[in-house]
């Protein structure tokens, strides 16, 4: 369908984006890789190993090289496996909740209902809230066992209060993050639903197709691509969830990989270690993306 002409125009059309993203990716990535092989601590008493003067770094390189020690320390950190596991768990559960919930909500909002605009805004609202604020609100005003709203409800029912962050920190984080991302999934799926051909819908109704078959055989394939897009985009964001874990102070037990990198970089000021951690996180993300693409990638080009 694409002619020779459109193909070469296509290449030119894509070029600016590709160039911009390439520069954006390669420069920080190269520097991060470089740092990951250095012994570089922001508060290092040895000035030659910090970047005070541009020239100093190059000639001090041998004194500051750390080889693979940064990687070694990061990977053997007792928190590493737990962080990686938490990263994957978080992504998995939030995906399940937001995609399933998003689809159901989108189907609901696609129906004829009174005040649809307002309901839609209410459903999308969580995405507007800054992650730091939403973490504070959930932790202290909703989930706190003494003064939180949920505690008040369960106590009024005589069930006592759940101390979410003490006993179920991962669950609490999953709830907070799903709440934030449900609107994203809903919005994309809803917009896709609304592009579903009215005529096909009418034809099916006139044929007397039962609603479930209609859903399964007509809507689901139509949704395949938007849902794939939602999954892939959300995965990338969810792998890097940071604010919610940081603000709620549950980094110890529910911390994921970015949080561990943060601990190395901004609390211990170990930039070498944090860079190594960053590279490891990128590798993990690439692995996840590779498997995801293998599983659902074909939906993109259907």
């Amino acid at each position: 369908m694409a002619t020779q002409q459109t193909r070469s125009i296509g290449r030119i059309a894509v070029a600016p984006s590709v160039i911009a993203l390439f520069l954006w990716m390669i420069v920080p990535l190269a520097m991060t890789i470089w740092f990951s092989f250095l012994r570089y601590n922001l508060l290092d008493p040895n000035p030659a190993c910090s970047l005070m003067t541009p020239g100093a770094l190059m000639d001090a390189a041998n004194r500051c090289m750390a080889g693979t020690t940064n990687y070694y320390y990061f990977l053997t950190d007792p928190a590493f496996f737990k962080a990686m596991r938490n990263s994957l768990l978080l992504v998995f559960w939030v995906l399940v909740i937001s995609v399933a919930g998003g689809t159901l909500l989108a189907l609901l909002l696609d129906q004829a209902i009174y005040g649809r605009n307002l309901v839609r805004l209410m459903v999308i609202a969580p995405f507007f809230v800054m992650p730091t604020v939403s973490a504070l609100v959930w932790k202290n005003m909703m989930m706190h066992p003494v003064q939180g709203f949920l505690a008040w409800i369960t106590k009024s029912m005589g069930l006592g209060a759940i101390d979410w962050f003490a006993h179920y920190p991962m669950t609490a984080i999953v709830i907070m993050v799903s709440w934030q991302w449900l609107p994203f999934a809903t919005l994309i799926i809803l917009t896709a639903l609304q592009s579903f051909d009215e005529e096909q819908k009418e034809a099916a109704q006139m044929d007397g197709t039962p609603p479930f078959s209609f859903f399964w055989y007509m809507i689901v394939p139509h949704l395949a691509r938007p849902v794939t897009v939602v999954i892939l985009i959300e995965t990338i964001f969810l792998l890097n969830v940071f604010a919610e874990i940081y603000v709620s102070g549950s980094g110890g037990r529910a911390g994921n990989l970015p949080f561990l990198v943060y601990q190395y970089g901004l609390i211990s000021n170990d930039i070498g270690g944090a860079s190594a951690g960053g590279i490891i996180a990128v590798i993990l993300a690439n692995i996840v993306a590779f498997f995801l693409m293998r599983m659902i990638g074909k939906n993109l080009e259907a």
């Binding site: 809230v129 730091t132 005003m141 940071f242 996180a281």
Partner: protein, 276 residues
Amino acid sequence: MARAVPIRRKLIFTALAWGLGFVIFFPVLWTVLTSFKTEGEAVSIPPTFLFFDWTLENYAVVQERSDYVKFAMNSVYLALGSTLLALLIAIPAAWAMAFAPGKRTKDLLMWMLSTKMMPPVGALIPLYLIFRDLKLLDSHIGIILVLMLLNLPIIIWMLYTYFKEIPGEILEASRMDGASIGKELIYVLAPMAIPGIASTILLNIILAWNESFWTLTLTTKDAAPLTQFIASYSSPEGLFWAKLSAASTMAIAPILVLGWFAQKQLVRGLTFGAVK
């Protein structure tokens, strides 16, 4: 046109939708309500809903203490600037990938998404150093570029998805009618893609508005957006819930208004009947 929907079905769905919507919206509502309470009231046990002494003092304090307008205008510049700048190069790119795909298109898409894989913390120092040397620290243009590059993959992906929805035959038909590519883009593609472009713009403005890592790190005062405004109300030594709620309400308000108006664009479905 569609058959009339039976009233009973409409009512059931309405109730269901409103119920779910309310549950989801509740924490946001709670924040807004808390902004009208005194600090002591905000943390009272048991929590109070509507029957407390409503006060505007938090808003007064926030207004007096911080220059909301400056922060809000910065947020607007940064969010709008980065989204529009990204659209300029994303629309052609997405068009090319949707309608003139090559063998590598899927890989290209995946690569674009992979530029977002690095945890921002890992690239903090490299980027800070680059900004320092290019004198971009605390500059509007610096952050606009960063936000644009952060969101470009998302924008391209979303546009790609929506463009793919548009049947290729329509574009072919217009081309056979003699329309050039430019005309094709403007007169045929654009109208059908409006809901998609609108929701892309909305979501990306929100992402840029709420981006708190780079905006906090790379700005100091001149280019500081609402994320810094919020960070100045968060967790000091002392009760702060009511003030933070007021600040948050002021930070979300522009977006909520924007979201409300953008809805009209999202509602319009594709009208294939007219085209055929």
